[in-house]
């Protein structure tokens, strides 16, 4: 097949560029260790989550999930975990009371929805998830410096989608330990 030599050179350059893009992405996964959210959070029954939120069911009956609390729970060392529910039209915790994590911690977040799809996006960061009823999104994030992050719902969830917002507060360890959980 006849291909002009300029176009042959361009094809080679384009393939090089494509491989370059793929390599950068692999580097991001291997070097800084950026990980995609997967299926290891497991599944749950969204009706159970909904019932537990309404105090009609005990959280221990909800598969793969625990009661959401504003203060992250200590696991060991600098590891913490937090359970968050995204629902129409609030983050719990987040909207009423902010989610609190200590500075210098590694937090595993478990997020699910009792109703429709939501987004869990910490504005200005790379923490950005789709939350799906029936699925639990499990991610681990390192929070180094104290500060406050805003959360917005980034996936259309109904007529009041635009008011759905919340807060994540990264507080110094001593302040974290002394507050009520």
């Amino acid at each position: 097949m006849e291909v002009h030599r300029f176009e042959k050179i361009w094809t080679a350059a384009a393939l090089l560029l494509i491989v370059g893009f793929i390599s950068t992405i692999v580097y991001g996964a291997v070097g800084p260790g950026v990980t995609m959210v997967e299926d290891d959070g497991g599944t749950t029954d969204q009706a159970d989550v909904s019932a537990a939120l309404a105090d009609e069911l005990d959280w221990s009956q909800v598969e793969n999930f625990e009661a959401p609390t504003p203060k992250a729970q200590h696991v060991s060392g600098d590891k913490y975990e937090a359970y968050v529910v995204t629902k129409q039209f609030a983050f719990q915790p987040g909207t009423g009371q902010p989610l609190r994590v200590p500075a210098g911690s590694t937090v595993t977040l478990y997020v699910t929805s009792p109703d429709v799809l939501h987004g869990f996006e910490m504005v200005g960061t790379n923490v950005n998830l789709i939350i799906m009823p029936g699925q639990i999104s499990e991610i681990t994030v390192e929070f180094d410096e104290p500060g406050t992050y805003s959360m917005v719902c980034s996936e259309y969830c109904g007529a009041a989608h635009h008011v759905m917002e919340g807060r994540v507060e990264v507080v110094p360890q001593s302040q974290f330990d002394s507050t009520e959980g």
């Binding site: 097949m1 006849e2 291909v3 002009h4 300029f6 176009e7 361009w10 094809t11 384009a14 560029l17 494509i18 893009f21 992405i25 991001g28 996964a29 950026v34 990980t35 995609m36 959210v37 997967e38 299926d39 599944t43 969204q46 009706a47 129409q88 109703d115 429709v116 799809l117 987004g119 996006e121 504005v123 200005g124 790379n126 923490v127 950005n128 998830l129 789709i130 799906m132 009823p133 029936g134 699925q135 639990i136 999104s137 499990e138 406050t148 992050y149 805003s150 917005v152 980034s154 996936e155 259309y156 969830c157 109904g158 007529a159 009041a160 989608h161 635009h162 008011v163 759905m164 917002e165």
Partner: protein
Amino acid sequence: MATNETTFADQFPKSARLTRLSFGVAFTALAIGGLFGLIQALHRTDIYRVLPSPDYYTLLTGHGVLLALVFTTFFIAGLFSWGISNSLDRDLPGDWISWSWWIMMTVGTVMAALAIIGALIPQIPMQADVLFTFYVPLKGHPVFYIGVVLLLVGSWVAGYDWFRTFWSWRKDNRGERIPLQTFMVLITMLMWYLSTMGVAAEVLIFVLPWSLGLVSQIDPLITRTLFWFFGHPVVYFWLLPAYLAWYTVLPKLSGGRLFSDPLARVVFVLFLLLSTPVGYHHQYIDPGISEGFKFVAMTNTMFLLLPSFLTAFTVVASIEHGARQRGGKGYLSWLRSLPWDEPAFTGMALAGLLFAAGGFSGMVNAGMNLNYLVHNTLWVPGHFHLTVGTAAALTFMAVSYWLVPQLTGKKLRLRAFALIQPYVWFLGMTLMSNAMHRGGLIGLPRRTAEPEWNLPGGSFSEGIGSLNEIQLQIAVGGILLFTGIVLFLAVMVATWMGRETPTIDVDSTIPPALSGAENSPRILDNYRLWFAIAVVLVVIAYGVPLWDMVADGVFSPGSNPVTP
């Protein structure tokens, strides 16, 4: 027709009729969808509001469906009907089968549109505030989903109309290479058949029965996955017709010839093979899908850049050929020798230029972990307004300036409007899209009536630009784009309604390519082979993950409907 010359409409009246009627629906959808877009742009920037914020989502659904599903599909149906007859030198049968596709598509459109608009009109007891992607568990009225199905099935029958015309040509032309425009239509439709399997399964097996109450719960993960099985290739369904115009019409408008017919064929085959097994790149941040499948989708997507990179070279080389035949010289000054005062040329050339930018933001979207940065932010509409909104839409408008006179036997009217329209679009899109990209980087979400200005933790940080300046550019850009639509529609209406003229002032002849089909291996025309390979690639990419999703229960973990 009263012209002294023989136009396409004279030679192929049935094809011309179907094309005109398809364009008619397309342009109507463009008008309404475009108006919604203007209202949205002014609403979410808080500059001028005519509706309460919950109604924003009704308009947004209308904007997406009317522009990205109706305007596109109908225009493409018209363009492909023209392309088949033009390249095969043969009219479409124009029998009840031909008419059935147009009728099905139109009835489906009206049903879906009524269901959407119903949210704003108390007398219509329907709503479909579910957006163009209609993600479950949000539920619209069943009439919406039935409308979408009819639009889809109609498009399948249209494809059959083109295939059977090709087969009848084939009987009289054994051994001939498939004419390029027909080749492009057939390959695009094969990709369409393969990809629409996903959304057809989603709607017919899951969403429609669920919306009718026949099944109480369906799994959002399966339905979303089936949607994106279709949702990525649909963008190539929009793009490949634009490529058809760029490869076969734009060189002629530039005063030159297509640089390489063989490469055009290779590009289309690559799209057939790779467009569908990439859908997971829309689900990088979804739960329930392992990183391995996301990685495979990422690599497939990155290689899918290749046919577009090749297109850039071949199309620009063809334009350059035209410029040099018009006397152009030097490394860059040949650009000045091009017919910038010819609306059809200018529209397509500017569409291609903006597409080069939109391609880049698509590369970012495709970048798996990089997607965390931009997913569901305003960056994403910034991207797709450059691609479907310009590469496709502006090209469609540009090609109409050249084609509609040939379809109606009437000269182009309001030429001055046609002349400035592409430049107005270019300016409006540059302003709106660049602001949307920057807005996304400072964290502004998409698909929201009011980005939450008063965030408790602080507002959107200023990045490359401030919030106010970004909002202003989006509003001004949106106004300019709507002006562009008005200009275009004015030209179309004036031309269509105008008197017939002795001449239509359009040279419809397309010169042969510099390197013709005879320089390419015959196997390229073996569309059955390419389709088979495409199916295998899809099974590899989707077989295991879809099986996993179904294995834990076809309808579970399930969700009940939620009315938005």
